[in-house]
Point group: C2
Chain length 351, copies 2
């Protein structure tokens, strides 16, 4: 067996807390037997569930706290009052070198605020981003930022292009993922000044990805590029819009199959095929919002997910550590900054 | 028969030009026999098609021009060089009082630039918006702005809330449509400063709609509010993302039905029900991007639509004229501005 990877789990996070985090960790352990878990949370609630998973129990350590961050807590309050919480202690374990990474299904805003404060950004990274993976026509797309930064100047967008490209390399195995900047049209003259400045730089530098150009909203699900970069306001809204439309499509189909006896029989016959299709877009498989750019790996699992989704988030964290994601980012960033062309007058104006 | 409504048609606009605009106008005439059409474009191409629709021929006048604006023309170039084009002449006919409104399936950017220059905004309207109607879980939602303004200050957003509410009243018949401001979360503290300022004003004024609060991307297809207001950058991307995801869902379903003989039989049995569902979300029924806030009604039909979609755009224009949309907007705006509370220090700071 190779060296152990230690993953800190905020056991209390998410809508179902220990009921999904513990079984989820057990599932991930089945895939990767070299994980050691630090489980932070209420021992009295963790132990009964943990006892059902002897392998996990033997590969983990429980660190008790009866404090936790609720889903409705404001980030600023969580920062001030959440010092002893399971979320905060789990993050601390990464900054203290006791864990390689942290996974939480808790309050996104609180997690980002705490992770930013405790772990800090990687050297020369201006802002962390939240990235996620979505299904497309023929594969998957990495999209960022999904809400960590409401607005982004061109330098931040360029850094996000780099972060997204390295992340895409890890999750897709592609050598040179294509990167698009999200805009209202594909012509050079379109969009905000910061987008056009970022595009001008990305066109001439060498970095982990291949810069494709501007992409539009409809290009994301069609998989035009491997990575799509945008500000956190637009990214958050576009992602949630996509989730809403996908949900609505599912509702329409269900209604259609219920609308007549013939349709019901048709639905029964097609059920296995439709189930397979549904598995392809199963949100649990795309679960794991990555916080990119932090000096420590932090993965956010959907709050409403089940153990399969949480296990997937744990495995994303595993892959990032296993692939030395942050070392790759640091090397790529140094490479980018060594290219004189990167710092131009329009960049300086931005700041 | 009531008084005639005169509608100017840019016959050359759209991917298929006269092949959809003339049959589309004929279809609309079947619904509303009191329309008189002014048809602008190449007479040699219009006449042969027009001759197939005797009713339309008798209810229309052809104004010849051999100039037209291509889909790839930049708005600035269209403004400078498009003086004699079918699009421009059709818009002119509205400003000259010869037509009540104009409908074009041509280049959106050029149409907006020309309409803005020729028709101007309604008194006290700061910016025009592009609005569209989308299917939701149980009905339809009006969304604006979809690309006319990349960024919007709070006063512009407030005006868009009013424009959207009046538009929703006309298309849905609701007395007091609910209005949401698109944001990354529903709490008061979320989002850009201009959003929070707009929300603070909308909460205390009386206007055509009922202000609901902030809405998120996923709330749009779920139909949480009748109207969703956002800036043109976010709106454009969210709309196109929705179109892309809807298209992708359709592809997945088709693939599922092709994946096994049993699924194919199931698909055949369910076909009528699925067709009915598809009709419910038929983009042609939601065709007609409205330019709201201009001193003259201008409707943009999708460039790639067919005659049914174009006819629908014509009928949207008809409804707006028939309901005296712009008079309603002017009255509502006066009412809004008469409320002292509307002008507050935070509004003045914005400008």
């Amino acid at each position: 067996m190779s060296k152990k990877i230690t993953i800190a789990i905020d056991a209390m996070g998410g809508d179902l807390g220990v009921n999904i985090t513990i079984p989820g960790a057990a599932l991930a352990l089945k895939e990767h037997s070299d994980i050691h878990f630090l489980i932070f949370g209420d021992e009295a609630r963790i132990r009964p569930i943990l006892s059902r998973y002897p392998d996990l129990r033997d590969s983990s350590e429980v660190i008790h706290t009866d404090k936790f961050i609720s889903n409705t807590e404001k980030p600023s309050v969580a920062l001030r009052k959440g010092r002893g919480s399971s979320m905060r202690l789990a993050i601390n374990s990464v900054s203290e070198g006791r864990a390689d990474c942290v996974v939480s299904a808790g309050n996104t805003g609180a997690l980002m605020a705490m992770a930013k404060m405790v772990l800090k950004c990687l050297p020369d990274v201006r802002r962390p981003a939240i990235a996620s993976v979505m299904p497309t026509k023929d594969g998957r797309v990495v999209m960022l930022d999904l809400g960590a930064n409401l607005s982004c100047d061109s330098e931040v967008l360029i850094q996000f292009a780099l972060l997204g490209a390295v992340y895409s390399k890890v999750v897709s195995g592609k050598k040179k993922p294509t990167v698009g900047l999200l805009n209202v049209g594909t012509e050079d003259v379109k969009g905000h000044e910061e987008l056009r400045s970022a595009a001008a730089v990305l066109e001439r530098v060498n970095f982990a990805g291949h810069y494709h150009g501007f992409v539009e909203g409809s290009d994301i699900p069609m998989g035009k590029t491997d990575v799509v970069v945008t500000d956190g306001f637009t990214g958050n809204i576009a992602l949630k819009m996509a989730e809403g439309v996908a949900k609505l499509s599912g509702m329409y189909i269900k209604d259609a199959f219920k609308s007549s006896p013939l349709a019901m029989i048709g639905g029964l016959l097609a059920a296995p095929a439709l189930k397979k299709m549904k598995a392809k877009v199963d949100p649990r498989m795309y679960n794991g919002g990555m916080f990119l750019g932090l000096d420590g790996v932090c993965v956010k699992s959907h709050g409403g997910t089940d153990e399969v989704g949480f296990a997937n988030a744990v495995m994303v964290a595993y892959d990032l550590i296993d692939n030395k994601f942050n070392d790759q980012v640091a090397a790529e960033l140094e490479n980018l900054m060594s290219q004189e062309s990167f710092f131009t007058s329009d960049m300086i104006e931005e700041d």
